[in-house]
Symmetry: C2
Subunit: 225 residues, 2 copies
DNA sequence: CGGGATCCGTTACGATACTG
DNA sequence: CAGTATCGTAACGGATCCCG
């Protein structure tokens, strides 16, 4: 956001919006919660952002200290959340919670990738995880690989497949969102749209239990307004 | 937001932003959490919004079912949150929490009124209130009257003075925000910027205890990223 | 005076094309 | 792959005007 169009108020809500309030910014942060990403990952994932706008936003977010531009040994450019940027997770989750109350678009556009699911899934699981748990799961959503890791009371959801997963879960994006919105019960979701394979005994139950309580938590939080 | 500039994605975060993501919308909702407001209340409170934009935003928010336009007996037009609109409270609180981590502007502009404080104060108190409490407090922030009411486990913060307050608290806006941001300790805030009068014995202690725990909660939530 | 509507200059956005 | 450059269009900001 250029200086001219900032609110410049003392109110912390306005202050937050001056940093993340313009178009695309929150969606860029959302996708970065799935782990560091290349320019092109973001460009395709955001489905419709112009490349010059992506450049502008990335620079702005970097200026405000929310993201970092990294260049690996072989010249690969990666954008990653800073510690400050990580702290948008709960905020994004609350946005998702509120968005779930609104009717979905009649003919929504498909994003180029599904990094979009990472924050919401992470925070939802984080809220219900029991400390001391351990889990390393491979998720495949419409064929796209993600890693869900629980260590201690800490949950992590990242783009990309894990090395030696204890359990593998395959599902599809649309039913996932429908379950989160409450348009599809968790039981029907699992029965009809989930294929799960345990590589280590019992880990399949741990995963479905975690996901079930995460979805239940979303429903409770949505209803408690 | 016109149809052309909507994201139209399935992702609930994008869905939320399609409803509340354009400029001023979240700040309008923020101010409405202080209770129903007139067009002019919003116009002055938002400090710098153009009247045509306010009209546009109010219509859009009404279309999406977040607010209601009411006309009282004497033709006074009031805008109020719907039940759906009320549910933006936690979202706005999380924005405030995140904004508190960002450096405040060097020379912030003053809003025309202080409705801005209502949501944040309400949700912060809501999070720490002990069920069964009862309190009716008159707040005066820079001379502007607010009502803080606790009934059961329900907290309400509204613009305007209460009828028969059990306690009256006078303070100023800037130190309030500083205390919320953590730039000023709660003890210093109370000692230097708060004038409190109990009209019913003990209610002053109940109020300061509530506020103290609310501020502590904000600090904990901000640090736990 | 409250509650807007209209007009107009400026800025940001969106789409496409192009480059190291 | 990671952007830059250009350009038409839509949104914003400020001011003025209008009507009950």
């Amino acid at each position: 956001m250029t200086a001219a169009r900032r609110y410049r108020l003392l109110c912390p809500i306005a202050r937050a919006l001056d940093a993340v309030g313009d178009r695309w910014s929150l969606l860029i942060l959302r996708d970065l919660h799935a782990g560091p990403a290349r320019f092109t990952d973001l460009l395709t994932g955001l489905r419709g952002i112009a490349s010059n706008l992506l450049t502008d936003r990335l620079q702005q977010l970097a200026e405000d200290g929310l993201i970092d531009k990294q260049r690996s040994d072989y010249g690969v450019v990666l954008y990653a959340l800073t510690d400050l940027g990580e702290q948008t997770d709960v905020l994004l989750f609350e946005l998702a919670l509120f968005g779930g109350l609104l009717p979905p678009d009649a003919e929504p556009r498909r994003p180029g990738n599904l990094r979009t699911i990472a924050v919401t899934l992470k925070v939802a699981c984080q809220r219900v995880v029991t400390s001391g748990s351990t889990l390393l799961a491979a998720l495949q959503v419409d064929g796209e690989p993600f890693t869900l890791r629980v260590r201690g009371a800490r949950v992590e959801v990242r783009s990309g497949a894990p090395e030696a997963p204890e359990v593998t879960l395959k599902t599809a994006y649309e039913p996932m969102v429908a379950a989160g919105d409450g348009r599809l019960s968790f039981e029907d979701f699992v029965a009809q749209h989930v294929e799960i394979t345990a590589h280590k005994p019992g880990k399949d139950l741990i995963l479905t239990d975690l996901l079930g309580r995460a979805v239940a938590e979303i429903r409770v939080a949505s209803a408690s307004g």
